[in-house]
């Protein structure tokens, strides 16, 4: 089967000013290659604050003005140019962002989902999308600040199924949720994949990635250091890179151990505390 999304040698960088006028190119993703099949969930795992979100933005063609992406992004077998991304996002390609701050604080949920359209068809589809995730029509009348964490997350997922999604990019889909809600959200992803949608999950959480994804790519300091089927992660011997091994050991079921990071001597630990998951 043809992958819905194929990324080859993608590098994303942004320009930073440090101390006065000195400019610096910061590479957040270097030479990343991966493929997402229809009906498959692929996960990209990277440390918090490593600029993972920029990966999502580069696929959607909405990088901020100070960033650039190089490499090849193929959608449905054809290059995903800026124009094509513009035409497809919100129609076939959807982003599920990190949290409630991605909703306009001064606009009710309903109008926000409808994107300014007022026809009966749109209204119907948005209502159905909310209902699918257990949110009644009364949700449409709420402002984002009136939503609980779990509700906000479901609204964001619902925003992706107002149309027929073929590719969904989920950026840190579960921070701030308790285990049960997180599990339910991941269930929603599996369900969407089973309907034929390709899903790319971007997260800092290896455990989450392994729970939900079919294939996992781990990158560290911009470089891809591990790319394997989720099943391969069951045995630590299959993992090639010390960083992935450290992550593996830090998972609760593997002893919760903190391993010294071989690269710079600092300790690497699965970041349990970072629930806000805010990235660049």
């Amino acid at each position: 089967m043809e992958p819905i999304l194929r990324i080859e040698h993608l590098s994303v960088s942004f320009t930073q000013y440090d101390r006065g006028a000195r400019r610096r190119q910061r590479h957040v993703v270097k030479n990343l290659s991966l493929a997402v099949m229809p009906g498959q969930i692929a996960a990209v795992v990277g440390a918090s604050g490593s600029g993972k979100s920029l990966l999502a933005h580069s696929i959607l063609g909405i990088l901020p003005y100070n960033s650039r992406a190089e490499g090849i992004i193929l959608y449905d077998g054809e290059p995903l140019t800026q124009e094509r991304a513009k035409a497809l996002r919100g129609r076939e390609i959807f982003l599920i962002p990190q949290g409630v701050t991605y909703l306009d604080p001064l606009m009710k949920v309903g109008p926000q989902l409808r994107k300014g359209r007022k026809d009966a068809g749109t209204e119907e589809r948005c209502r159905a999308a909310l209902l699918r995730y257990g949110l009644g029509p009364e949700t449409e009348e709420l402002y984002p600040f009136e939503l609980s964490g779990g509700m906000a997350r479901r609204v964001l997922i619902a925003s992706a199924v107002t149309e027929k999604p073929r590719l969904i990019i989920a950026d840190e889909p579960t921070p701030g949720l308790d285990a049960r809600s997180a599990k339910r959200i991941l269930g929603h992803f599996r369900e969407l994949a089973d309907e034929g949608t390709g899903i790319l999950v971007i997260t800092h959480d290896l455990e989450l990635a392994l729970t939900v994804a079919d294939e996992v790519t781990v990158f560290y300091d911009g470089e891809t250091i591990e790319q394997a089927k989720a099943a391969d992660f069951e045995k630590v011997e299959n993992l090639r890179h010390p960083y992935t091994r450290a992550l593996w050991h830090a998972m609760p079921e593997h002893g919760f151990r903190v391993m010294p990071d071989p690269e710079d001597g600092k300790q690497v630990q699965r970041d349990n505390k970072n629930e806000s998951g805010t990235d660049v």
């Binding site: 497809l88 919100g90 701050t101 306009d104």
Partner: protein, 330 residues
């Protein structure tokens, strides 16, 4: 609702304290003024030819012989009873002078306030939305240039261009000179108000546009605009639906806060255009040592500015769902 009442009550107490403070400072400044009211208003030559009794009478009229503290307390007690005294220069009750002058200024002030608000908001949104590109550069350049231009100088410039060279508009005053009051039409008043209002608008725009631009830049780089883009909303829709909506609330505050700048600016501008409004009366009162009138004008304008800000706060609470619903829930 109860919350809103309590909020308003607190603000009103604050206003009373503010007005007291403003009047004290005005009074102190006036007492420290090196101008001798007799010399300024009667003249050196006339004073020399007067008898000591006459001079004593004049001193009593201008309040020179009363100690400052008892003078201020006397004014304050009267003011609390709603009597702001009689203007020494106009020989009319201060409130009547202020009312008349305010009626003269209101056309100019209101027009300048509305024009600078609407124009400033529009330019600010455009500049913020096109950050770094040519519309932004043009608007920002204009705003910085105008911010660095004194209002009175701009007034003289406009006067030269539109009244002297082109002859389109009158040079000054609020009505045609030598015309009977009954014969003055609204169109006449309007023609005379154009230049002062234009000057105040042009200078007022800069501040509002620059502030709005900052807000707009914040909105355009926000998570929710990014998400709107990710969902395929067009740039136009983003600016109108999300940008405008989120900039409007701070714009309300800005708009009402700008009342003070418009009133402040009118003092100089009315002077240049010989426009008989409140601003000009303030200058006359200050230079002529007309203490009751100056205190009256200062207190009344301070109250107007304060009420402007109060309205902004109340509107904000009504317009922002986070405050409105938050207050209901409490």
């Amino acid at each position: 609702m109860k919350h809103r009442l309590w909020f308003t009550g607190k603000k009103l107490i604050r206003m009373a304290l503010l007005l007291l403070g403003v009047s004290i400072v005005t009074f102190l400044l006036m007492s420290a003024s090196p101008l001798d009211p007799l010399q300024t208003n009667v003249g050196q030559a006339a004073l020399g030819s007067m008898s000591p009794e006459q001079i004593a009478k004049l001193e009593a009229y201008w309040g020179v012989d009363t100690p400052p503290l008892s003078r201020y307390i006397g004014w304050l007690l009267d003011a609390l009873r709603g009597n702001l005294g009689v203007s020494l220069l106009y020989r009319q009750p201060v409130l009547a002078v202020i009312g008349e002058r305010l009626a003269g200024s209101v056309l100019v002030l209101l027009a300048a306030w509305v024009i600078s608000g609407v124009l400033g908001l529009t330019l600010g949104i455009l500049a913020g939305a096109f950050r770094g590109r040519w519309p932004d550069r043009v608007i920002r350049g204009y705003c910085l240039l105008i911010s660095g231009t004194p209002a009175f100088w701009l007034a003289i410039l406009l006067l030269l261009i539109f009244s002297v060279w082109l002859g389109w508009l009158p040079v000054g005053l609020s009505v045609p000179a030598g015309m009977e009051a009954a014969a003055v039409t609204f169109a006449d008043r309007l023609r005379h108000a154009v230049l002062p209002a234009l000057t105040l608008s042009i200078t007022g725009v800069a501040n509002i546009a620059l502030h709005t631009r900052e807000k707009m830049i914040g909105v355009m780089s926000s998570d929710y605009v990014l998400f709107a883009r990710a969902r395929g909303e067009s740039e136009r829709a983003i600016i109108l639906r999300h940008g405008f909506r989120n900039v409007l609330l701070p714009a309300i505050t800005l708009q009402f806060a700008s009342v003070s700048e418009i009133i402040g600016g009118s003092v100089l501008v009315e002077q240049v255009f010989s426009y008989p409004g409140l601003g000009q009366a303030a200058v006359t009162a200050g230079l002529g040592s007309d203490l009751p009138l100056l205190l009256g004008i200062t207190v009344v304008t301070a109250a107007i500015v304060f009420i402007g800000n109060l309205i902004a706060d109340l509107l904000y609470g009504a317009a922002d769902p986070r405050i409105r619903k938050g207050a209901v829930r409490r």
